[in-house]
Point group: D2
Chain length 262, copies 4
């Protein structure tokens, strides 16, 4: 079915790849850009994807925001906000529409949003964060993306323990992931996945050692690079600007009856 | 809840990172490896993730197969079977638990499986393939992964038209994706996503030109690289072996009332 | 023998990796930085590599400038100034202390300097440039680096012909290298090397086709990436900032009696 | 001057990028390949780069071997044989036609050959190796490449000391480079360069710490990646096969009067 923009809907206003805006549609409001303003009420009743001219007659497109748009328009105060990393975390963790997942820390809620999106409608995310102001901001972002119903925001220190049991996955984006490995071992189902994102190689070594101590299998560490192409007949080339590093991803699966398990 | 292995379950027998086996558990059968055989019946009633010794007393772990395990244990007769590419296709296409998606071509069903996994339980994948033997094989793979209910396998040539309407995404892994752009434009919802995977830069240029002709927005082309790390205290280093190229990914979103649209 | 700084010597004043200055030592002069000034006369008679305190008591090191220091402190008005590319051009072109090399265009003289450094003392570089202001600037840079004696700066358009004969290498960093291939074929010795640096893939395709037309062998195109590491026990990681693309390098060698040669 | 092939010359027989042969021309000999044999005497008096048909009428090209050809046709028993690394070592070390350089270990002599080539004709390489059989092989390779006159092959353990003084550069490709840093400090001129090639990040951390202890400046660590392109109009793409890692390169320069220097 064709989807139409309604009062109160979010739209993702697209001018070009660098200038996009996540905006809530309200009948009486206008949205101001340096290319003129847009009467948001004019969008009501239009199909998503409609083109609309600003007061300076510059054309914008009112896209329906998707997961990625929500993630990358949220406050970026913490590290992991790279689609290349988030997408591999989702795929390698094996989670799906019924998974129960613990995440730490919540940070901006970017990764939380992605997990919540993919465990919909029957799964659940338990996300731990110690800093209240982060939690508050993440809650707002999750609410806006329509994902808050699938998430339990918890204030707590996951290095001291995980309250949940029989988890499908534990996903860590925090400074000392190796301290969580014992708790993750207890909290995970047999065969469940642990994923850790770390900027430094020293963190990776410690996590991998902790995983070995607890008999995890399928342990592997990767890094990914993404490069944008500038595509135009006669002038095609990779872009000059590139991110050289975000972090390493370590994956593992829980084996039960581990010899090291006391 | 703890999950137990039953007669008829699949298990993912793990010896090490290079030696893993996707096996159906049957009470009377044994599974032979060069490290001895495993009495599959012994696994029945055990928790997933259990360790089991082979006849040569080599330890295997009986993991519960996840999406990735199914994808990478299916027949690899076609190109796209790289997690780095599949995972970004899923994230960037914006699909989720209710999305309706057209895919072409079906190939081994690897990408089909991933799409089906993430549009569960309320979405649907329509996958086009012209070669019957591929379709047959893909069907078997989807069935094994428990995803066939979410997929409609279609024999047809997507360059001649797409039968579905109001799609959330069209995902292309085929030789001439630019020929599908006009049909994708018609078949997509406003704001819907088109994703194309192509090994050569020439294909990319043609797709990007076709997307511009139809007024798609948010057009971007990327390539990703993945590198495995060898992690061991005192000997940590990236692995020597690396895949240098799989293909380029092009993403776009449909704008409606495109000036170029006749 | 220990080398000492003299009146008129260049020194490469090093504060840290980002703050370095190429300075000529004059007895009565001081060099001003935002970390205080340095009395250059104090360096006279000291060994290269000596530490010296500024007026604000910040320590600098007075290194002897090497090729790389000269290259990267010259005016960067043109494209190729990347050590990863320059160094492979030098190695793959096979040039050495007696080689005769044509280069086009001269640009800032960065690549010219590198070629001149490595064909010392018995080789010669003939470098073509059409824009007088570039030539002038390059001349100044070469003179400062002590390499001008090995270089002939020529004002001319290499797409219209190369005056030299029996060259060991022709090295191209220009917009239309394929137009030079016929002239390079004539100007090179049998077995001589052609190297071309191009930012776009379209340029590469045209060069490779032209090389095939003239029967060149050993044709190969590469790109290189360089990534800086941040090394500190407990915090080691690749740097976030990275250059994603400079250009492609194409290498070839002249075969004589080519069937395609008219 | 045109250069002609003589009795006793080496030629680099080129069939295609993967099939090349370094061969000494002798009047009465023939060289056998699976594409037929070549009468080497027929090459005498011909220009380098000449095309020659084998007995099976397959065309080869008799190139004049250059540095790279010699390096990559020598016995590859040790690690560093990657042009991307060798070329940056040469450029960043700042060496040229008069430099005095210590290298350890000699290995196959691949890097030794490169250094020798670039310090010609007035410089000198002192290369340390503890294993006699390596030294013997390296000597043969250097002799063949015409570079032995510029090299002193030394049997010795550079972790116990360096006999030379006032060196322009110390270049290390060995397991424990940090043990050589104190000796390199003593052996180098002020402002001289130390370069270390190491496969593991652990080695890098130790070297960087040792360099800091001795007050070296300009310390930086990089890694490089090289990717081959498959260039053909309509089918252009990076090659699938790629080397993911060879080693890290660490560079530094000696500052004198270091506070840490006792």
């Amino acid at each position: 079915m064709t989807e139409f923009i309604a009062e109160g809907s979010d739209v993702f206003l697209y001018l070009d790849q660098r200038r996009t805006y996540l905006v809530k549609v309200e009948a009486e409001k206008s949205f101001h850009t340096h290319k003129g303003y847009i009467q948001l009420g004019d969008l009501i009743g239009k199909e998503y994807g409609t083109r609309i001219a600003s007061s300076m007659d510059v054309e914008f497109v009112a896209l329906k925001p998707n997961l990625r748009d929500y993630i990358f328009k949220t406050n970026r105060r913490t590290q992991i906000s790279y689609p290349k990393d988030i997408s591999l975390i989702i795929l390698y963790s094996g989670i799906g529409s019924e998974s129960r997942v613990v995440e730490a820390g919540t940070g901006t809620g970017a990764l939380t949003s992605a997990i919540a999106h993919y465990i919909k409608p029957s799964g659940r995310v338990y996300t731990y964060e110690m800093r209240q102001e982060f939690q508050k901001n993440a809650k707002k972002n999750l609410e806006r993306a329509g994902l808050l119903d699938y998430v339990e925001l918890k204030e707590g220190d996951v290095t001291e323990g995980i309250e949940e049991k029989d988890l499908d996955a534990v996903i860590l984006d925090m400074a000392t992931p190796w301290l969580v490995v014992p708790h993750a071992y207890t909290a995970l189902k047999g065969s469940g996945a642990l994923v850790s994102f770390s900027p430094t190689i020293d963190q990776v070594v410690k996590v991998v050692e902790a995983l070995a101590d607890y008999g995890f299998v399928g342990v592997e560490t990767i890094e990914t690079l993404i490069r944008f192409m500038q595509v135009e007949r006669g002038k095609t080339r990779p872009q000059t600007v590139m991110t050289g590093h975000t972090g390493y991803l370590t994956f593992a699966r829980k084996a039960v009856n581990a010899p090291q398990q006391v």
